[in-house]
Amino acid sequence: MKHEHDEAALLSYWLDELDEAAAAEVEEHLFECDECAARLREIVRLGGAIRQTLLDGRIATAVTPAFIGRLKDGGLCLREYRLEPGDSVYCTIAPQDDFVISRLRAPLEGVRQLDLVIDAQGRQHRAAHVPFDAASGEVTFIPPAAALRTLGTETQRMRLIAVTPGAERVIGEYTFNHQPFL
């Protein structure tokens, strides 16, 4: 038997992206083919591990405002800080918080590439091509909750930079004054 279903097709099947006929074809093949079924099980297992890593607060990532809604729908406890460009905020993470959400307001109309620069603990990190929903007028960032819980008093600065070929423009700067939860 030819194993015609590549990883992309298997994942599309899993995520309900295929039409009914294509999904049925993949499904039938998965019942006959141990190899492809094992490949899909591995994808599903890896996906579950990615989800758990997020829930454990082990990674920092930019998400969409709609994704924040999905976290809330899942019953998670979120502490949100919404900042306009130039704003500064005192922030913390409480024991009951699952996530801290940084909502960075910014003029995003017409922006094609957005980079996020974070200055923290004497180091600078630049994340290129940060995903964003331009219509929402904000960039939504989830810092790693597990690391936040171990932080003492510390200041972190974030800058959003609109990138065009040959030019860069800062469209927002934000300051987070973190304090341990008391």
Partner: protein, 196 residues
């Protein structure tokens, strides 16, 4: 109740895995009215992971998928033992047909499982549970090392199995673009996880 066979091109050559499945089905049928415990156990062991995967996809629940595995195998063995399978060479399609119908039945009649277990008590092996063998420290490191866009798309995809068209709408990019980013992200993630 009739369990429709899934359509499969009979001209399509079977592979070794299919041949093993078919041989086991024939052994179970040939042994009737006696039982062939070894063939039954092998058949269950081979199909349980596939049925579980199907159950997870359709029911999105580990517990419900585990129940489905047991229910499908119980009924399939009962059909094989009584010679109610006309085409053992299509045993995979037969089991898929049962599984599809069971999902419909499960939603329609939540009491079915209890009755089946009462009628056909079997010592089935527990369904192959999902064991998260991924090194979580390593995964966290590798996720963090991904380009921001790939990490974001993977996280937003797998948090609740979000399809590319939904995510693409939220990000202002095409579903195909989401799939490309997703594919690259998985590849880079695996490369990192395997680089020891």
């Amino acid at each position: 109740m009739a369990y429709a066979l899934a359509v499969r091109n009979p001209a399509e050559p079977a592979d070794e895995s299919t041949n093993i499945d078919v041989a086991l089905a024939r052994r179970i049928m040939a042994a009737a009215p006696r039982r062939d415990p070894e063939a039954e156990a092998d058949l269950c062991r081979r199909f349980a992971p596939r049925i579980r995967l199907f159950g997870l996809k359709r029911l999105r629940s580990e517990a419900a998928a585990a129940d489905l595995v047991q229910d499908v195998l119980i009924l399939a063995l009962q059909k094989l033992r009584t010679g109610a399978v006309n085409e053992p060479e299509r045993i995979a399609s037969f089991l898929l047909g049962i599984a599809r119908q069971m999902v419909i039945d499960t939603r329609r009649n939540s009491g079915r499982r209890e009755r089946l277990l009462d009628a056909f008590a079997l010592d089935l092996e527990p369904a192959n549970q999902s064991v998260d063998a991924t090194d979580t420290d390593r995964l966290g490191h590798c996720l963090q090392a991904l380009p921001e866009r790939e990490r974001s798309v993977l996280v937003m995809t797998f948090y609740d199995d979000c399809a590319a068209d939904t995510l693409g709408t939220q990000l202002g990019i095409s579903p195909n673009n989401v799939r490309v980013i997703r594919h690259r992200g998985l590849k880079h993630l695996r490369d990192c996880l395997e680089a020891r």
